[in-house]
Subunit: 617 residues, 2 copies
């Protein structure tokens, strides 16, 4: 009664389903731990090397400067010099502006463009990363700290907390790298970051209208409602005394120089055009004594450090990986985290706030032809000269030019095309993006991020909780079984129902899968009855995509077999994965399936079972 697919190569030989090679619990644990913490096997170069070579490799591993240092040439230096000077011309005005974004004195931004790049050039493994303050981390630190401490009323405490946050940022970053927990930042998906950056950019742009429009009664809070109401309030004021400065987006340094010259030439009354004012000359003063390890605000400093640290890491690692991919070298995420962390720890002791690899300056660095981390050294040298000799020149720089620079920088973070792409390709990714955007805009930075990460995790759980199941059919002329809904040419095999389960079987979905499979069986029986077809005798579960199983899942398979047996249906498993097979074996559930309960492929299962039916009609 059973018709086999018309297939010349239908298998007559059966293949045994193998268990994976036996390993002890300890071996499994070791393998699992290695795979969790050392997926890239960073020490593979150390295999079969002499003692001396191992020492050199260790040095190279700890200080990547030893990898490229010995072969450094004048030609490379020429490239690094040009790119270093180029990014310096960006780093100086951006440093001053971003410090302002973090509600810190402008000079801190320059300090932060001096020490950290030098340290990174020794420890970092990226050749193109331009290190310094970045907008996202600056604004997050500025927002989180100024929600509790006013930077104008208690400037010293605020500065102390900023350095302390930077220190904890560094500790957190270095610890993530050292413990090889770098995958933590993977949970900030790109979709989340697109939404987050756009939300942050909107907030910052609105906030910077304060500087740009010369407003005084402007709130410093981040949430959009107070910001918007301030803008609306301003509109009434500006009607009375119009003093609007609007500058087109010129190159930052040019606009700084030009505006400084103009203001210097006009010398307006101090209230009319706010200027940076006096800046001290000289190198970074030590600030280790300003770190703050006790008292009421320690928790705030740690929280701010972790949030701004994780965002700084995300930007730095992503930028490093991007340019490494473009140039076909690899960046070890965990090692980079240690480099960035150590650089921030050192920075917090030398009057720097949180720094990382900046996306915009790294792109300029790359396009200007940077070859090694020496371009960071060149940039730091240019900043050094500025710090030592050129500080008085910034006295008359109007603060509105800094606001313009910030807005120009953050507007670029709004990537609406990426958001449209997300909507087209993946609705749930788009949802994470939108939630992250509105969370940051209307709630707060840490909560907005937490909501977005929560949605991303929820998405993973949803896929596991409600996995796809498909009815398969044979593609004529092959041994391939594919979804009937997707492949029109796929043919049902009479008397068989072939179901593919597209997810691991866990506690979270075993009840669902039981109901869903029984529903498929019920619907198939109704269909057969309606069509007056031959009855169903066997249900084959294609386990190819069941990549893991837990004890609830094993129990489900056992229960399902019994339930189907009571309905006179045989349950057969096809192609279980290695660890699934191992657990079925350990739990002894597989024994209850008998000799005709487990096959390597769906095709072999059908051939063997239907031939046994022919033998015993």
């Amino acid at each position: 009664v059973v018709q086999l697919p018309n297939n010349p190569s239908s298998p007559t030989e059966l293949h045994r389903v193998c268990l994976p090679p036996k390993r002890s619990t300890l071996q499994k644990l070791k393998h699992r731990v290695a795979d969790i913490f050392f997926p890239d096997n960073p020490f593979h170069k150390f295999n079969n090397q002499t003692w001396l070579k191992k020492l050199i490799l260790t040095l190279e591993f700890l200080f990547p400067v030893f990898q490229w240092g010995p072969t450094y040439s004048l030609k490379l230096f020429r490239a690094d010099l040009i790119s270093g000077l180029t990014i310096a011309s960006l780093a100086i005005p951006q440093g001053i502006s971003y410090a302002k974004l973090a509600n810190l004195p402008p000079i801190i931004g320059l300090y932060s463009s001096f020490v950290p790049p030098l340290i990174y050039s020794i420890l970092g493994s990226s050749k193109h990363l331009a290190v310094g303050p970045v907008s996202i981390a600056s604004l997050v630190m500025g927002t989180m700290l100024s929600e509790v401490i006013s930077p104008t009323e208690e400037p010293i405490l605020y500065l102390k907390l900023a350095f302390t946050s930077t220190f904890f940022s560094g500790v957190f970053q270095a610890a993530l790298g050292f413990l090889r927990l770098g995958f933590v930042i993977d949970f900030l998906s790109k979709a989340t970051l697109i939404g987050f950056m756009a939300g942050a950019a909107v907030i910052v742009s609105l906030q910077q209208l304060k500087g740009l429009l010369g407003m005084v009664h402007f709130t410093n809070q981040m949430q959009i409602i107070p910001v918007l109401s301030s803008v609306l309030k301003y509109k009434n004021e500006s009607a009375k005394r119009p003093k609007l400065f609007w500058l087109s987006a010129a190159a930052p340094l040019t606009s700084v120089i030009l505006s400084t010259i103009i203001v210097f030439a006009i010398k307006p009354k101090p209230q009319r055009i706010p200027i940076i004012g006096y800046l001290p000359k000289g190198l970074n003063p030590p600030s280790a004594n300003m770190l703050y390890f006790s008292g009421a605000y320690l928790g705030l400093a740690i929280k701010t450090g972790i949030v701004s640290g994780i965002l700084a890491l995300t930007e730095g690692i992503a930028v490093g990986r991007t340019f490494a991919t473009l140039n076909n070298y690899q960046v070890d995420g965990n090692k980079e985290m240690m480099a960035i962390g150590l650089m921030n720890m050192a920075g917090s002791c030398s009057s720097c706030y949180v720094t990382t690899g900046s996306f915009s300056r790294s792109a300029v660095n790359y396009n200007a032809g940077a070859k090694t981390a020496i371009s960071n050294v060149v940039m730091a040298s240019a900043v050094l000269i500025t710090l030592l000799f050129l500080m008085p020149l910034f006295h008359y720089t109007p603060t509105v030019i800094l606001a313009a620079i910030i807005i120009t920088a953050v507007i670029g973070l709004i990537d609406y095309q990426a958001a449209i792409h997300l909507w087209k390709v993946d609705k749930l990714d788009f949802l994470a993006c939108v939630c992250s955007f509105f969370g940051v805009l209307f709630v707060s930075v840490p909560l907005g991020l937490a909501i977005a990460v929560g949605i991303s995790v929820f998405k993973i759980l949803l896929h596991v909780t409600r996995p796809n199941t498909n009815v398969l059919g044979n593609i004529p002329g092959t041994q391939t079984y594919q979804s009937l809904g997707r492949y029109r040419e796929a043919m049902r095999i009479p008397s068989f129902l072939i179901l593919a389960i597209e997810s691991p079987i866990y506690f979270a979905n075993s009840t669902y899968l039981q109901e869903r499979i029984l529903r498929w069986v019920r619907e198939e029986e109704e269909r057969l009855k309606a069509n007056n077809d031959s009855i169903m005798k066997c249900v084959i579960l294609d386990m190819s995509a069941v990549t893991a199983i837990d004890t609830s899942g094993i129990e489900l398979l056992g229960e399902l077999r019994k339930m189907l047996e009571r309905m006179s249906l045989q349950l057969v498993l096809a192609n279980p994965a290695g660890n699934v097979m191992e657990k079925l074996h350990l739990s002894k559930v597989i024994e209850s399936f008998g000799s005709q309960g487990l096959y390597l492929t769906v095709g072999e299962a059908i051939a063997d079972i239907s031939s046994s039916w022919k033998a015993q009609p």
Copy 2:
């Protein structure tokens, strides 16, 4: 140069990889929502029915009593009568004991064995569930409430809070069912529950030593350290005045009757043997006026209600499903939740505390031959007679017998064999079990549960974050490609590296997968070099187990293709799942793979690509 597997049936015909049928966003959303909330398609019977039939089906759906009521017979009633009386003999002593476990007056336990079973018999769809107070929910409610309110010092407030918690329990349970969010309880995996119940049993047993040993200075707190220190303190006291009562585990009712007779005969001084004392005769008094919807303890009542409600649900649904499976009928989890929820809401207005289907009594019910929910009605009638006429008989029942009943009941919850099975089969499930055990023992009930659920979710995330990847080889004589590590007979195909990815590709693993795949490529190249083999030309990703992809995953595939291209390697995808294919198509990434970048099977990919190499050497 390329040798194909020695296979007579090597495919010459290529099969196109199809997209799933086109559906609009709205259709997809509808399908997804239906699959999330109505996986069992509960309304399938309603299709193609007349208006009258639909009305009857609706009634049957809302009140399952209409399903079995019309065919109820005297024969069925005889079976239900016997089983109902049997469970009543358990329910009366257990009701009194469990009320004590919840620090409530004993009579509340009897009230709770009267109203809820009657309501369940109308609304419930399980034929074997014996409804009433249960140990876990009782002890959780008792613990959580008595941590804040003393049941001895403020008995009225405590009682009010217990009824209010029961009300919120019911609301929460009914809401979960009504909103079809029943899958929430699936997240309490069996492994978690095994650990939780064992931990709770240890705590309760130690706590009940108070009653059993007649101790007075015994703490009421749940955590093991105060409990243990109380036991140790008692040891010193008991040395002075020995009054140990230890009874073997006899059938509860027999022991209650015997002990009551003995105590009645001896009539000892009141302090010597604590007895239940006066119990009011009569039916459940209304308690709707005792519900507490405002004030300081509302939060506590809601929290207690939700935690005890979810545990009650878990037990009730699991028991219902177990006996349904044994008897080949299906229980709709969401509908059961509504029944249990409504029964608790009604209970809270008639002096009952939280009830559900009891595992032990349901098992007795089933074994005593219960056929329908009428056995619950019989039990309720027996409780009614007790309430109306027999209450004075319990006056002299010693409270130690109640402690003995509780200990006997909860000791049975310690399923160490199940824990050993977990250890053998799944180490991470065992970890969840152990954490749940120690969390409940040393931290607190809600936190212990939260930790265990966290570990279970972490396990799912870990599997996604660090998925398995395998190198595949051909099993000679077939078109099947299997893991080289698992199948010794599997053969590598020269010039090809075939990798299987065993998980969806998400933001959480795209970085890992990139590193891991590049490591496989690097290791394969090293192996080839060491063996002086022919060079690798093509990497095939077997996507059979990649059941989903997000925008980060799509980007990974695009990046990987470019990186491998720079290494003169071709990247080919084989057998992507429907929704993966759809997203690759939407994002246009698939176009960059070209005509030789996508195949239905690994076998077809190898055949086609190697024949094209032969054509252009």
